[in-house]
Structure formats: C-alpha cells, structure tokens
C-alpha cells in the first residue's frame, strides 16, 4: 500500500516537476486566440467588490481580470520573490534620494472600460485611498505602507512616491495584487462606489455578475499589453464545496480552480484523466501557527510553551500529512527558499525542528515536569475548515499526547474563531498566516507583540524582539538584514512565543488545454488571466 502510494506520488512529482514553477522558458508554443475559460472560485464570494477594502482571495479571483495595477510580480515568473515588472508604468524606477523617492512614468493611451482615459491622477488617487483612506473608508493593508510619506501626480504621466525612510519592504508591498487602479472621477463622486461596482482598465470588461453564483467577463479590445488577452472571455463560478469542484474538473464543467486542491483530488484526477490533466505545484506563502495564550496559566511559563513545541515532530509529520493535506514544507517564519529564510541547519537548532524527535520529546517531558505540568490538559481553538486546519489540529493533538499532554480540539466557524482569539478567550489557538506577495520583512511583522501588531493573539510583550525588528526594517543591505532576521527568529523561538507549523502547498490540477498560467507561492498573484490561452 505504502509503496504504491509512494510510486504514484513519484510519478506525480515527475509530472509536476516538468510543468511546475520557476521555468519561464519552458513554454515555446504560440498562444492561440479565442475561447472562454470557465473556472471556479472556492468560496462564497467576498463581502464587497472593492479590492482595497477586502482581504479574501475570493475577491481577487473574481475581480482581478477587470483591473490594472501599478507594478506586479512578473506573470511569466511569478514564483520569483524579486522579479517585479510594470503593469501601468513604463519602466521600473531606481529610487533616488537615498532610496526615499520613487518616480513612476505612467503609460500613455490607457483607457478605462467606459472610455475615459487613465492618467497618473487616477493612479495617485487610488494609492492615496489605500495608504491614507478617508474616514469611513476601510483600507485593509494600510499598515503595510507606514513608510510612505506622500503620493503625488505632478503631471498626467508621472507619479511620485516619497518615503519616510528607506526599506527593503516597500517595493514588494507596492506589487500588492489588491491595489487596483480606480477612476479618480468615480472616487470623487463616491468613495464607496467600487464596493458594489466594477469598472477598471484591465484585460477584461464586466459582462454579468450574479450574486453568489458567477461573474463573467469579455475581452477588453483596448488593452494595452499587445496581443493580450488571448481569451475571448471568462466565466468564474463560485463553488465552495470541494468535492463538487473536483468532480467539475473531472467532467470538464470547469477547467480549474486557482487556489489549491488536496493531494487526493490530484491523484483522482490524474488517475482518471491521464494526460488530459496537467498539475502545477508550489510551496505556498501560507502556514499555520501554534499560538499559546501568554495571558493564561500555565502558558505564561516559557518552559510549558517550549514543551508544546518540542513535542511536535514537524519533519515526519509534514511528510505524512502532505499525502492528505495541502501542506508540505517545514519552514521558519520566513518563506522557505527566499534569501532571508533559515537554512535547514539553522532551523534544526530551534525548538520544534530538532531532527531527533525522541530527544526533543524527552526534553519536552523534562520541561513539563520542571514546570509542574506533567498532566497538562487544554483546548486547542481551531477553525472549522478541513484543509488543512482540522487535519493539522488532529495531528497536533496526537503529537502532544506523546508527551502526556491531553489536548482536545474546539472547532468553531470563522467568526467565533476570530472572536475567541481577539478576546483572549482560549488556551492555545491554531492560527493561519497567509501573506500575498512574498515580502519577508513586512511578512514577519505579524510575529511582533500585540502592542505593536494588533493581530498577534499571543498577548505577550517583548521589547527586545521589537528592537531587532525596527533595525531590520530600516536596513537596506540584504546580508545585514539576513543576520538581523536570524536574530529575530531565534529570539521568537527562544521565548517560545509562537511556532510555525508546516507551510502549505499549492496543488493546482487543470484541464491540459489551459496554457499560459504559471503557479506562484501566493494564490492572490497572477489572477488577471491576461496571459492565459486555450489549446483547443
């Protein structure tokens, strides 16, 4: 049984390896024009249509095809963490003024779908809405741009962004896939207009939106990237039930979904459809976090927290779980593979990553005994989503039982899950940590204490940690930044504040006639469909 499973996985890995990430030169075919792409969005639809205000991928998957952005991760190389290209600008600027000023030249001749011209004024207005939202307007990623001082458009073709201090985390932040460029005219009329309406300058124009059901677009003939979009149009269907999505791909009711399907779906589709299915896989800039509530006894004791981490065998666990859940790689607080991430050797020094699990668990038991908590019992607060939350939760409870800890799961829907964490009414929580563009320095901000980063639910204080982070934020030399990052991560682990458990893994099976799309570590990226074509 096991050997069969492994050899099946072997074949899949081979297939995946041939088709997968980071190989922009692999496609030598010429794109064909025409056809309608039908895909599914694994959610019920976001609350509003305004990308600036929302955080769920459902909004991106539904609306990104209609909009342009200023800069973005290169759609031909989306798994790169450093390859940013222009969408609306003409070339990537070099920062002047000691890294404090970025001057962007905006393309000429870009039109909104209603015919009005797009100028630097629209770009500046949209970005000001994101960074300096007016009262009553919500901007979900405001915090990512605290380094921005001003955004101005001195003329119709230039946008100037001035920073308060130079930092490595600005440019990746600017490539935010939610940062749609809206029409200044519409924004002036009504700041909330884009919450219920769609009107952009992207590769597709809105045809129809049926609440909770589907959204349809057709080619924008005035699109400024030559030749694109190849598709005549697209249909996106909201389909929150996973079994339905897998069946739909199997029966070609839809070509794919852009988030991720679990390994079982991949196996099933490959087995049944053979070469009619191609699969792309990638590490994902998402993971689960074990967060003990420092305000609750006995989790105020660093020994107890450390014991929790030491009990977990991440290496073997990730390997086994990767067969049934969308997880794979073990990593620290930085996305594995990026320049600032810990190497395997560095990881293995930290609690929760020891290569010798028996030693690790013995140490855990010793710490528990020392702290007087041999019979520790508690509740793990978890979210009511199978992949991978509940699976990870079930696995963690089993791991903890191996050092004598008796934990149970309290699984709640998203609302009470947030509520429990925000109010501090939990023992240990299983959180999610999803970032969009890989922006390591900004991404690790979420490990800062609650007083600095409000959404950290560990409820601890650690001035030393904050100090290291501040230095790192303002450091422009990447090798020095890496040293500081190691210090930062080691500090967090020494104090056993929170533990990252298994990075998620994206598996995107699709009908093999879908070409042009390349997977990336983030399911928010590369969703405007402009470079997709159908080989049929």
């Amino acid at each position: 049984m096991e050997t069969m499973a492994i050899s099946r996985l072997g074949i899949n890995a081979l297939v995946a390896g041939v088709l997968a990430l980071g190989a922009p030169t692999a496609m030598a075919e010429t794109p064909k024009r025409g056809g309608i792409l039908t895909y599914m969005i694994p959610a019920d639809g976001g609350p509003s249509l305004d990308g600036h205000r929302e955080t769920t991928f459902a909004v991106v998957h539904a609306t990104a095809p209609f909009y342009s952005v200023l800069i973005r991760v290169n759609p031909e190389n989306p798994s790169s963490t450093t390859d940013f290209v222009c969408d609306l600008c003409t070339e990537m600027p070099t920062p002047t003024d000691n890294g404090l000023t970025y001057t962007f030249k905006i393309r000429k001749g870009v039109k909104f779908h209603d015919g009005s011209p797009l100028t630097a004024q629209d770009v500046a207005a949209s970005w000001n809405k994101i960074v300096y939202p007016k009262p009553g307007v919500a901007s979900a990623r405001e915090n990512n741009f605290v380094m921005v001082d001003t955004i101005t458009a001195p003329d119709d073709e230039t946008v100037v962004i001035k920073l308060k201090y130079a930092t490595l985390s600005f440019l990746p932040g600017l490539a935010d896939p939610f940062a749609y460029i809206y029409s200044k005219k519409k924004l002036d009329e009504d700041m909330h207009w884009y919450e219920k309406n769609i009107m952009g300058s992207g590769p597709f124009k809105l045809v129809d939106y049926q609440i909770g059901q589907s959204i349809k677009g057709e080619r924008n003939p005035d699109y400024y990237h030559p030749g694109q979009p190849y598709l005549d149009g697209f249909v996106a269907i909201f389909a929150p039930k996973q079994a339905v999505r897998t069946d739909a791909i199997r029966a070609d009711r839809a070509a794919l979904e852009f988030r991720s399907l679990p390994p079982s779906a991949r196996e099933q589709l490959v087995k049944e459809l053979g070469d009619k299915i191609s699969v792309q896989e990638s590490d994902w800039n998402c993971g689960n976090v074990v967060t003990p509530n420092h305000k609750r006894k006995p989790f105020d004791d660093v020994r107890v927290r450390k014991a929790l981490f030491l009990a977990i065998d991440q290496w073997k666990g990730a390997q086994a779980l990767s067969k049934i859940a969308i997880v794979k790689t073990v990593g620290g607080i930085v996305f594995p593979g990026s320049p600032l991430a810990a190497t395997k050797e560095e990881l293995q020094q930290m609690a929760g990553y020891w290569p010798d699990v028996e030693k690790s668990r013995a140490e855990a038991r010793r710490l528990l005994k020392e702290a007087g908590q041999e019979n520790l019992t508690f509740e793990l607060l978890n979210r009511n989503v199978d992949q991978p939350y509940k699976i990870i939760g079930t696995w963690l409870i089993d791991e903890w039982s191996k050092v004598g800890i008796k934990a149970t799961q309290k699984v709640v829907p998203t609302g009470p899950w947030f509520d429990g964490m925000r109010s501090g009414e939990f023992d240990v929580a299983l959180e999610a940590n999803c970032q969009n563009v890989v922006n390591p320095i900004a991404d690790v901000g979420r490990w800062l204490p609650h007083a600095v980063y409000r959404e950290n639910y560990g409820f601890f204080d650690d001035p030393e940690e904050v100090e290291i982070y501040d230095k790192m934020l303002k450091e422009t030399d990447i090798s020095k930044a890496r040293i500081l990052m190691r210090q930062y991560e080691t500090r967090i682990n020494d104090q056993a504040h929170q533990l990252m458990v298994t990075y998620w893994y994206r598996i995107v099976p699709m009908q093999s006639y879908v070409k042009g799309w390349k997977i990336s570590p983030s399911h928010y990226l590369n969703q405007d469909l402009a470079n997709i074509w159908l080989d049929k």
Binding site: A140, Q213, D252, T414, G415, F418, Q435
Partner: protein, 323 residues
C-alpha cells in the same frame, strides 16, 4: 365558518411575533462579530477604527430593544434591510437565490406525489403481501437515509456510470440557468437534488397515504360497498382514495414548509446557489439581518401553509363549514 377563519388569522400574528422575537434573540446570542469576520478573513489585518466604523454603519452599537423594534417595524413594511456581510439589500440577496430553491422544492413535491400516492395506496390495498413489505421498506429507507449521503452517493454513481459506459464522466451543470433560457440544462441541474430531497418527502407521504387508506378501508361504508358487490377497483378509486387524501394533502402541505431543512444540506452537496446555502453562510458570517430575514421567511411559509391547510379542513369539515 368566518368566525373560525378570523380566529385562525388572529392566531397567526402572535406566532409570527413570537418567532421574530426568538430569531432576533438567537441571532444576537451567536458569538462573533460580523465586522471582524468581514474585515479579516485568512490571517489578514484589520484595525479597530475600521471595526468601530463598521459597527456604526450597521447600527449594531445601538441598544438591543431599539434594534428589535426597528426589526419588527421594518418587517411589517416588508423592508428587510441590507445584508451585514455584503451590504446588498436582503431582498436582492434572497431574490437571486430563490429560483433554484423554489424549483427544486416544486420538483421534489411533484416527484414525491407522483411516487407516494400510487405506491401508498397500492401498499394499503395489498396489505401484508410482499408488495406491501417492499413498499414499506422503501418508504422507511427514505426516512432513514441522510439526504446528503444520498446526494454524495448518487453523484458518485452518476459520474462513475457515465465514465464507464460513455468514456467521459458526466456531472450535472454547476452553473444555474433559468428554465426558460435553457430548459434541458436547467433540469439536468435540478433533477438529482430534487430526487434526493424528494425521496424523504415521498417516503413520509407514502406512509401517510398507506395508513390513511387503511383507516378508510375499515370504514363501514366501504364494507357496505364491498357487500353490495362493487368492483374493488372502483371502490378504491372512487371512495377510499378520495377520503384518504385529506390527511395526505395536509401532510404534504406541512412537509413542504419543512423542505427548506432538506435544502440547507442538499444545496451544499450539489453546490446550488440557493436559499438553504445562503442561510448557512449567513449564520457562519454572523450576518444578523440576512439570517433573521431567512428564518422569518421559513417560519412565515410554514405558518401560511398551516393556515391554508386549516382553511381547507374548515371548508371540508361540515361541522365547521356550516356553523
């Protein structure tokens, strides 16, 4: 009779009010905050300013009693407010999803009646024969089988069967088109869910038909008819079935209102954009206005159905009709 009708109408009001109060209280007891859910989905960030703003926008920072009075008053004016999750009017949200749910409910009813009455009557007439036993097991099976399990298994069977026989697997469409636009596609989508929901509905109706028929067949006038030598078939069709139908119709009327319970789960299985699925979403998103409106809708349908059934009884029962 009119006094009876008037009294029944009067009874409807406190029931609806009581239901409204219960719904209101229940929704507010549910822990969680719609603004939090809305602004922070998967590890995203949100700030307390935005949340306070959201609260004020939605009016959930006002005293509870005021909110309730507002709710009832608005309900009377048929103004159901806006969904707290999406900001769209509740009527729009529900209206967009009503067609598919209604279609499945009606289809399920048709299927149920088409199966239940003939089979139930047959089972009663051939009582204690193997036909009776078969029908009874079939009926109890319908009550014992979880509708979502039936849905999962039936989808599996359809997929595997078409794959084996035709080479390519076929599954019902996942995108809804109204019946007047593309009737075949529409029915292809609605058929399997309707059967899944209808099976239980048919089972309950079948049992009721059988027991009602059995009771009627004991009646003296049937025995008299038999003694007179009338053909059995005539007796059944003309006399027994007609009189047995009254409790059956009652049951069908009442069960129709309960269909929404089956829809809640079935729409998940088949990925249907219906009212049942909307309800689950609304509860999960802590969307008070939407959940309230949906539950009130269900309750109103139930109460109205009951009311009409009572009216039917009143009309058919001479004691009340002629009083």
């Amino acid at each position: 009779m009119y006094r009876y009708i008037f009294k029944r109408v009067l009874l409807v009001i406190p029931t609806l009010l009581g239901a409204a109060a219960l719904v209101f209280v229940l929704m507010r007891l549910v822990p969680g905050d719609v603004c939090v859910v809305r602004l922070g989905s998967s590890g995203g960030t949100f700030d307390p300013k935005a949340i306070a703003q959201c609260h004020a926008e939605l009016g959930i920072d006002r005293p509870v009693v005021i909110q309730f009075i507002d709710f009832v008053w608005a309900f009377l004016r048929l103004d159901f407010g806006t969904s707290m999750w999406s900001g769209a009017p509740v009527t729009t949200e529900i209206w967009a999803r009503l067609p598919i749910s209604l279609e499945i409910a009606i289809l399920a009813t048709v299927i149920a009646i088409a199966i239940a009455i003939p089979l139930g009557a047959l089972s009663a007439v051939k009582q204690n024969t193997w036909i009776d036993i078969l029908v009874r097991v079939f009926a109890v099976g319908g009550i014992a089988t979880p509708s979502f399990w039936l849905g999962i298994v039936s989808l599996l069977i359809v997929l595997n069967f078409t794959s084996a026989v035709f080479g390519t697997p076929w599954m019902p469409p996942i995108e809804y088109v109204p019946i007047w636009q593309d009737p075949i596609r529409n029915l292809a989508m609605a058929f399997l869910p309707a059967v899944t929901v209808g099976y239980r509905y048919a089972a309950v109706s079948m049992r009721m038909t059988r027991s009602a028929m059995l009771e009627v067949m004991q009646e003296d006038y049937i025995r008299t008819a038999r003694a007179k030598g009338l053909i059995n078939k005539l007796i059944i069709n003309r006399h027994a079935l007609k009189n047995a139908l009254l409790p059956v119709v009652t049951l069908i009327g009442i069960e129709f209102a309960f269909l929404i319970g089956g829809l809640v789960v079935t729409e998940q299985v088949f990925n249907l954009n219906g009212v049942g699925r909307l309800f689950v979403q609304a509860v999960q998103n802590q969307d008070y206005t939407l959940s309230q409106a949906l539950v009130m809708l269900t309750v109103t349908v139930f109460v109205v159905c009951n009311f009409f059934v009572d009216l039917l009884y009143a009309w058919l029962d001479p004691r009340i009709r002629f009083s």
